[in-house]
Amino acid sequence: MPRAVKGVLVECDPSIKALIISLDSKNHNIVLADLDDEHLVIEERMVEYVKRELDSQLAENTFKPAELDDIRRK
């Protein structure tokens, strides 16, 4: 009998996949299965957490002109 595991299929590009795997390496509670270069199965409850972390990591690396103005003013 085949086994069925409940989860969420994530389709993304390899860079995002690498980010998710690195997030998982801390607690191992996110990724259920690594399918191929562009697909992962992750835990349903962790979906929001993954999205938030992804957003914050990507935002870290963007330049915000508004901040530059504030810094200049100080």
Partner: protein, 460 residues
């Protein structure tokens, strides 16, 4: 672009009506004319060829009117005509629906004396109003509704009728006037142009009116009649049925008509009414030749300048327009006649997370572009347009599908059978046959489970 989209909605509504209802609709010449205007050009051509011809037309004769290579347009036009029950087909010939033919002929030749185009008042109005007053009145009423949606503090709240319409149409949610909040659909609504907004509300009104036991046919008659009225002319209430008189009260609240008080025996249509079914006065385009067809009011609505460095300068002091701009622009400074700001990643992401799409932002900027911007081709700087789209793509880096991962198949045969079944059902989201694993969607899982159980019990 909004008028074609709108036409599809009112067309969808009309096509959804059953044939007897449509035939009742066609009794009014004004409605026939309005429906004629809503049709695509080729359908209009076909109707005109059949209009004054009493004998049925052979379907192949129509091919003579169509250029080679436009046969898809011909097919679409015929489909539209069939959908609205405008043509009758028998044995390869086509003829126009009788009532519609009589109605349209009437509308064009002004034959029978009829009230469907509205009866102008022949008595003098002691409190006559001019076009400028009507425009201002329409603007104020309409902006009152929009301000209420955006949440600017004007102190005035629209009537209960308007509030319940906003609630039913899903543009706002909440039970009391003080705790009503705008929804995602409401945000999208705000970015549309006025004509599209009016039609959205009127279509909702139509849907609601059926629940309120108002005759949809009479409501439609009145709406199409409004589209053919003349701005600045007062019309008498004599021709209106009781249902239509109730409608008049509601339409006053939206600023579509003006009535001095509810006991007045006359009403004036505003520009919002007269441009309901016409092409002009609706959308701005960059082509100079359209400028002459656009009324003075529309030219004044272009006020936003967008530069290649993402800075936005809006020459307006209307709190409503400033509030709408605030949805996706980070406004930095405000002057007497202008506000200035910048489109930033944050501001666009805030808009995107509220449900506004990049296309809507771009459409809004295009429609409200300052006349100075029209000198450059393309209208909006491509850098900014592309970047707004890229920011939207950034929000969608992960595609999520909920479901179940199947693995551990005992034999290749078993895998093939179950995977094949999942494939045929169309519930397979991903598969890898050499690893013998696949993923099915949550909705489709139950069927796969049942199939596997049946197979196991069947002992295959």
């Amino acid at each position: 672009m909004s008028i074609p989209r709108f036409r599809t909605s009112i067309n969808d509504y009309l096509e959804g009506l059953p044939e007897p209802v449509l035939i009742r609709l066609y009794y009014s010449p004004a409605t026939c004319l309005a429906i004629f205007r809503l049709l695509p050009a080729m359908a209009q051509l076909f109707i005109m060829t059949m209009l004054f011809n009493d004998k049925p037309l052979a379907a192949t004769d129509l091919n003579g009117w169509v250029q080679d290579g436009s046969s898809t347009k011909q097919y679409e036009a015929l489909e539209k005509l069939r959908g609205m029950h405008l043509i009758k087909e028998s044995q390869g010939t086509l003829s126009l629906q009788k009532t519609f033919r009589a109605g349209l002929r009437n509308a064009l030749t002004g034959g029978d004396h009829n009230d469907s185009f509205g009866i102008p008042c022949n008595t003098e109005d002691k409190h006559r109003v001019d076009i400028k007053f009507l425009d201002e009145h329409a603007n104020n009423q309409w902006e009152l509704i929009l301000h209420f949606m955006v949440g600017t503090d004007t102190g005035k709240v629209p009537n209960n009728g308007v509030l319940s319409l906003l609630r039913h149409s899903g543009l706002m949610e909440g039970s009391t006037p003080s705790n009503m909040r705008i929804t995602n659909a409401g945000f999208q609504f705000l970015l549309q142009d006025v004509n599209a907004q009016i039609w959205t509300l009127l279509l909702q009104y139509l849907n609601m009116s059926e629940d309120l036991q108002m005759d949809a046919v009479e409501v439609l008659h009145f709406l199409f009649m409004l589209g053919s009225l003349e701005l600045g002319q007062d019309y008498s209430l004599v021709a209106l049925s009781p249902t239509q008189k109730i409608m008049l009260d509601d339409l006053r609240d939206y600023g579509v008509v003006y009535q001095r008080k509810s006991s007045s025996r006359r009403f004036y249509p505003t520009r919002l009414a007269t441009t309901l079914t016409s092409d002009t006065g609706a959308l701005l385009t960059a082509a100079a030749s359209m400028d002459s067809a656009i009324s003075q009011k529309e030219l004044e609505t272009g006020f936003v300048i967008l530069e290649t460095n993402f800075k936005v300068y809006a020459y307006t002091d209307s709190p409503l327009q400033i509030a709408v701009l605030n949805l996706f622009v980070q406004l930095k400074s405000r002057f007497v006649n202008m506000v200035a700001g910048q489109i930033s990643r944050e501001s666009v992401r805030k808009a995107l997370s509220n449900g506004i799409t990049a296309d809507q932002i771009i459409a809004y900027l295009t429609v409200h572009a300052h006349p100075q911007m029209r000198k450059s081709i393309p209208l909006l700087p491509p850098t900014v347009v592309d970047q707004i789209r890229l920011w939207q793509l950034e929000m969608e880096r992960m595609k999520i599908v909920e479901g179940y991962l199947y693995s551990d198949f005992s034999s290749k045969n078993e895998y093939d059978i179950i995977a094949g079944y999942a494939h045929d059902l169309g519930v397979m989201a991903w598969e890898k046959s050499n690893k013998r694993m696949f993923f099915v969607t949550k909705e489709g899982n139950q069927q796969i489970v049942d199939f596997v159980r049946r197979k196991v019990h069947g002992g295959a």
